[in-house]
Symmetry: C2
Subunit: 305 residues, 2 copies
Amino acid sequence: MSDLGAATLRIRIDLGYDGTDFSGWAQQPGRRTVEGELSSAVTRVLRAAEPVRLVVAGRTDAGVHARGQVAHADIDPVAWAGLPGRSNRMPEHAAVVRLNGLLPPDVVVRSAVIAPDGFDARFSALCRRYRYRICDDPARADPVRRRDTVVVRGGPLDVAAMNEAARDLLGLNDFAPFCRRRDGATTIRTLLQLGWERVQPGVVEGVVVADAFCHSMVRALVGVLVPVGQGRAPRGFPAEVLRGGTRDPRVKVMPAHGLSLEEVIYPADGDLAARAVEARTRRGWSGGLPPPGTGRCSRRSPAPG
Amino acid sequence: MSDLGAATLRIRIDLGYDGTDFSGWAQQPGRRTVEGELSSAVTRVLRAAEPVRLVVAGRTDAGVHARGQVAHADIDPVAWAGLPGRSNRMPEHAAVVRLNGLLPPDVVVRSAVIAPDGFDARFSALCRRYRYRICDDPARADPVRRRDTVVVRGGPLDVAAMNEAARDLLGLNDFAPFCRRRDGATTIRTLLQLGWERVQPGVVEGVVVADAFCHSMVRALVGVLVPVGQGRAPRGFPAEVLRGGTRDPRVKVMPAHGLSLEEVIYPADGDLAARAVEARTRRGWSGGLPPPGTGRCSRRSPAPG
């Protein structure tokens, strides 16, 4: 809650960015961050006296991209209503045009709307979907995609083997072996989907969905599966690491630039507030399995092959 | 032919590049060009006394990308044979590794092999395939792809209308209305394919295949079709421009960064020399329709819708 209390209006902002030239999402003094750029654009567009604070669904690391990031801000309703100025536009439309006019080319706001009651960009989310893009044939590496594709040497990846091994990681687990340690933070998560597909010759993409992720988790999950795909580790290796219970030095955290936050999935408007309460209070206990009927967040086995 | 005469070995080099930070392919004093970077890498790897000259299939403009560019160089066979040094590698493998070690990250050599007899990167080519990538929904613009995707405003493109209009341009025609004037150069070309497809929500891609292209031709062909797709011009507009016979100020040459040279198609090895003689002597007369049996170069109507 902002200091403005009941007088504020919560705005949901959907955005994408090229993470290459950012020190991640989270604002840090002296660093170029997505939060810093967006907060300063929102503050300017609203002519707010204080920097507008943002709450985000996925705090992406340095170099990680986003195509479906979601943030919220609690703002002055009068400033929002005044956005169209003398134009005939709705505030929603004026906000997008003005924000994109101020933002650098590596950040694009897709929409900015009044959030439904109970919406919290972070805590209302049911799950997050990430994508990891790998080129496994360096001779086919595409220089145009070098900012969002990690080139791995060691021969073509066996996608079927990776998918088989990935199944052992699905479900409610303590992902401590795949998380950077943070005191007091739970590492219990529900991994809903982890599947690989060859999308074109020389390129495989992984889709990873969980209720939430701890720090470096997606890149460590990819890092435990790539050796399986290369035949350097047995198919049981990821399960063995998971059972180990602590960070495993054999697991390489893969580079950030192959990773992109593709989508954040929220429940129907009526369930937003309940979900936020549940996620705040119970995360780490139940793992917060999403309510039934939210298909995009349900558990799915990787496709064969 | 090089000054080295019969003693030279012709090498075929396949490469890709991100054109963003290049002043195009062709070497120019004081400019960063793909030819300049590649020639200097080849010269260094071979320890040649003189800069190695390159002949290229498609002289791309500033900002244009390539995923399937082809060049050749006539080099000293002794230097080629010596490439593996004390390694067990074949010269083909050593050349790729060493060239990519020297080249900047926005150029990737995919292969370097001894060219078959009669091969000429430019004149043996049967046809060139380009791709043009457009985002027609600015709210969906992907910042990660902003270097190879042109954002157009004015509503979603009607792909079926663009494909219908594109049919009128296929075949052997004088493409002067779509070419930047160059004295003495013919503008007669055979346009073999020009088709559009919606590859994902908000993104359409065009594929353009011709025996060869004159300067700015693909970008002008795209420029005459976009207004049709937006409903701002009738479906007969491209045909009308073609019939006009001279450069038409109503046709906007589209930005370079949406364009990528995807593939250069050559005949079977036995037909290389004959094709080169034909292309050198007859281009501008017959339009050099490719010989039968070269499916990827044959004329194709755009897919409906």
